[in-house]
């Protein structure tokens, strides 16, 4: 079968290691022997018994939720603008402008934000022109991390929403208008309900990506700003506590899954009511 080589490769390179990691999360950690084979829930209990890790999870969740919300508010008008107000050529060019920052990689993009947010950086110098003095305090802060995350996630949101807006029949908007609806009424009553699947898809994508963000919290948040993905890395690669690191990874994926599925179900139920 033609797909077999790829299938074997992904199974050996991803699925088998993931299955092993799930098994490892039930093992016991020992500082001298690293890992002792066992079947125990102690790694999961350790997470839920330790206020520190719960705070890390909670911080990851609220930062991701807030970043996603900001992306939604900022992304909807831009996606609509690209779908309705721009010529094909301009759209193609703007799309490249949006995609370059997305595909430039987390290391380069985050270092660019460090240059802006730094206490002696671009933003401080700019605000200095207006008489602002003293440190900005954006580096090593939640605000700084959210700014960095939003800039990574916005392109994803814009592109997802844009393709949905383009699939909406423009005649519907014209009909609304000819019946006397103002622009915001049309958006609220016609466009956004129709675009709901895309809004949901874009938000879920942004939320998942920021739940798993690594570079932004590490570089902008600094060593004392803990989020889940850097903590997984720390436990697995530095502390070498594989059982606990594995448990952390699965808790992260499970929480992400439960929250995204939960929100999707709620939104879809409301959306069905709307469209009836």
């Amino acid at each position: 079968m033609l797909a077999a080589p790829g299938l074997v490769f992904v199974t050996l390179g991803l699925l088998l290691p993931l299955a092993l990691m799930l098994r490892n999360s039930l093992n016991r950690y020992d500082p001298s022997e690293l890992m002792i084979s066992a079947v125990t829930a102690e790694n999961y209990l350790k997470f839920f018994g330790d206020a520190f890790y719960q705070e890390v999870l909670w911080r990851t969740v609220w930062i991701s939720g807030l970043s996603t919300a900001i992306c939604l508010v900022a992304g909807v008008p831009v996606a609509y603008f690209l779908a309705r107000h721009v010529s094909a050529l301009a759209k193609r060019m703007l799309l490249i402008v949006i995609l370059v920052p997305l595909l430039i990689g987390n290391a380069v993009r985050t270092s660019a934000w460090m240059l802006i947010l730094n206490d002696k950086g671009v933003l401080a110098a700019f605000l200095g022109l207006f008489g602002h003095e003293g440190p900005l305090g954006l580096m090593y802060s939640a605000q700084g991390v959210i700014i960095g995350l939003v800039s990574v996630l916005l392109p994803f949101m814009i592109i997802t929403l844009n393709s949905v807006f383009e699939s909406i029949d423009q005649n519907l908007e014209d009909a609304g208008q000819s019946l006397g609806a103002g622009h915001f009424t049309i958006m609220r009553r016609i466009v956004l309900p129709l675009a709901m699947p895309g809004v949901l898809a874009g938000s879920v994508l942004c939320f998942i990506l920021s739940m798993n963000a690594y570079a932004t919290p590490v570089l902008i948040g600094g060593p004392t700003f803990h989020m889940m993905a850097p903590t997984v890395y720390q436990q697995i690669a530095k502390v070498m506590n594989w059982p606990f690191g594995a448990a952390l990874a699965f808790i992260l994926m499970a929480v992400t899954l439960i929250l995204t599925v939960g929100v999707s179900v709620v939104v879809q139920r409301r959306y069905r009511k709307w469209s009836e």
Partner: protein, 271 residues
């Protein structure tokens, strides 16, 4: 361009969108600008301009070797993704077999599983293989190539399947009924039609492998550090215009690759 929509609404949309796009792009413009500053200590506005940072970045073996290692790794990963992805794409588009959806989900899963999770799983797996067999994979270029091929494969499959769907099978049938051998049909009919998809798929596979941080961070070794890891290692202790120089080279490379991709495929389709 709706005649009916009022001018003020259009201006509002344009202004808001430009501000948002500016927010996304401006940091990159500043980091390119910074790479030419002559100041030793970063401050604004700059005192003058120089190309010294590029010389310095080149002189640092971490960056130079990292760049070439990244190039090599991503090129090999792209070739692996092509060899595995092209036949798989054919099976997914043309094949009618039980479990096709599952096969597709599995092949795309490296894109869905978060990089840190996939990376840590692979890292522990490699080390366990090493304990059992003595065969060292983590920290070698083989380990990196495996990880990067996993990153590249779903992008290849996504773009190649999209272009394969657009091939009308009846053209191939016509060629076959006129006596063309299967390989002739493939090389003379199918391949030319899906060439744009293959090019776009390869470029996206290459780019996403080149910029990877989350998987690579587990698998780099003292002699095999990719450019992205060299960058964040450097950032941990320093912040000067050397970073700007490296960033500028990468921005130029990615922009050129994206412009090429744009000629062959609708960019938004890759997401």
């Amino acid at each position: 361009m709706r005649a009916g929509q009022s001018r003020s609404i259009r201006i509002g949309y344009t202004a808001f969108s430009m501000a948002v796009i500016g927010f996304i792009v401006l940091p990159l413009i500043f980091i390119v600008w910074m790479s030419f500053y002559s100041n030793k200590i970063l401050s604004f506005p700059p005192e003058g301009y120089t190309l010294d940072w590029y010389r310095r970045a080149w002189a640092l073996s971490d960056f130079r070797n990292g760049f070439f290692l990244s190039l090599r790794t991503s090129l090999i990963a792209t070739v692996v993704a092509l060899c595995l992805g092209l036949p798989a794409s054919f099976a997914l588009v043309r094949g009618r077999f039980w479990g096709r959806e599952t096969v597709s989900t599995v092949l795309m899963s490296p894109m869905v599983v978060p990089g840190i999770v996939g990376g840590s799983a692979l890292f522990v797996f490699f080390l366990e293989v090493e304990f059992l067999t003595g065969w060292r994979v983590a920290g070698t270029s083989l380990g990196l190539i495996v990880a990067h091929s996993l990153i590249a494969l779903p992008w290849m499959i996504r773009l190649v399947t999209t272009s394969l769907i657009s091939v009308n099978p009846s053209i191939e049938e016509a060629a076959r009924s006129l006596g063309a051998a299967p390989l002739t049909v493939f090389f003379r009919i199918t391949l030319p039609v899906i060439k744009p998809g293959l090019i776009a798929g390869s470029l996206f596979a290459f780019i996403n492998s080149f910029i990877d941080l989350e998987k690579s961070i587990f698998l780099v070794g003292p002699d095999s550090t990719t450019l992205q890891i060299a960058l964040i290692n450097y950032l941990e202790w320093n912040f000067d215009s050397t970073i700007g120089a490296v960033a500028t080279v990468q921005i130029a490379l990615i922009t050129v690759l994206l412009l090429i991709t744009d000629r062959y495929a609708k960019l938004s389709r890759a997401f």
